[in-house]
Symmetry: C3
Amino acid sequence: MIYWLDLFGVLVFAVAGSLSAGKKRMDLFGVIVVALATALGGGTLRDLVLGCYPVFWVSDPTYLLVGSGASLLTFILARFLKPPGKLLQTADAFGLAIFTVIGAQKAMGLGISPAISAIMGVMTGVAGGMIRDVLSGEIPLILRAEIYATASLCGAAVFTGLSFYLPGNSGIIFLSVAVTLFLRLAAIHWKFSLPVFPSKE
Amino acid sequence: MIYWLDLFGVLVFAVAGSLSAGKKRMDLFGVIVVALATALGGGTLRDLVLGCYPVFWVSDPTYLLVGSGASLLTFILARFLKPPGKLLQTADAFGLAIFTVIGAQKAMGLGISPAISAIMGVMTGVAGGMIRDVLSGEIPLILRAEIYATASLCGAAVFTGLSFYLPGNSGIIFLSVAVTLFLRLAAIHWKFSLPVFPSKE
Amino acid sequence: MIYWLDLFGVLVFAVAGSLSAGKKRMDLFGVIVVALATALGGGTLRDLVLGCYPVFWVSDPTYLLVGSGASLLTFILARFLKPPGKLLQTADAFGLAIFTVIGAQKAMGLGISPAISAIMGVMTGVAGGMIRDVLSGEIPLILRAEIYATASLCGAAVFTGLSFYLPGNSGIIFLSVAVTLFLRLAAIHWKFSLPVFPSKE
């Protein structure tokens, strides 16, 4: 089940990466490269930091197929259909929620403490989008927009907290994904935000 | 032979990195840092993802010497000679072709499937140039210019396909380098390109 | 002692990262993300390249606590106090000096040759600041400003050179930190600089 969720996360992040790359008028392969970096970047960093070798997508080609297939399809469909206004942000919110929980879960499975596992979840969730924005020549939206890393941290905290007391309960995964997703989508919709650094300097 | 090819790749990528950094008026050590990140970045990422420790340039100082020597020489020569217009692009094309094949070859040598090895070749080939452009504050040219990742993918596919059926044939390396190089140089010369993402959004 | 020095390096780099992120008007969590990437990025890259698993901050939560605490405090204090003009550059110089020596020391402890260990020290010292600047949408200052990588290289060379002949002498650590710090602060104060790449192209 985790596996299917992971593939779904790769799919939505590949779509988000393709739409973002498309705004910069990249060519077909450029779009696929950005989509794969977005979809696989967070998990790759997670596996490197945790010391899981080789990285997840090396041993299972499904990830690459799903990621490049979703990117290609987005590229083709965007020629015929205008993507709905908030598609990029919504796909991105789903990917964030899923990768956060999967990152935290993988860390806890290796016996890492709940607090560090939560941070590992946030890192897995936000890294892909940050790589995408850096490759697109933008300051990562993550860092200035509405509640983003915050939504990821809340979902990761719910997951690691509950998993610590109720190990093996698979409902926790859905609850934690829902928490991140709700916070992020609510922040997009109602434009919640955190205080911004005062720019006195 | 692979070893000499690898060093030649480091040399040409260091030259390309130095020229690119020079356009941004970086100082001597900044130029060397960008040159080394360009020349060693792709292989470092490859070794990390494949789990080869320590990374190739840690155990053999020759890579660092060749990379920083080439960068220093470029820095000095650029004071006296105007670099030919297409030197950066041509050096970059040679590096791309060589690192693509070496990345794919290293992955296959570890028993990884031909398809994933081809992707690993592309990653090794394009990562250095992407790091260089990000450090220079630019959207990686790779992602929007003429056939680039495409040339790398064709060379990698030729290499992994032929190596699978004719293992141990060293002519395959040269053929695959030639395929990538020809496609990339032809794309620069005749300005071939792939379809660009439609910007309806 | 190395441990306390390392924590101090994390603290000053987190402050520098927060101030830099604050200039871009990021929100609270964005600031903390940039601060942690700045403070832990260099050491993470060092551990990955050297093959030390898991990465240092995964097994010891103190690093994350110190880094996010320093970032939070900077965020709060900046609402009430105008940070002194050169605080960012000075904090950055301390972090550079400390991480350079710690990186070189860790590499030598693994039996790596002095020359490569020195490069590893430079990489540890400069990577955090480069990640910070890339995330802030700027060409890394490191690459164009006054003597920066040069100061790091001198400190690393002093450390690895002396450690090779006088192993186990803890005064070497302070001497090498002082060399980097002096060169960097002197360069800021008197605006020393290296020759810049000629922009004939």
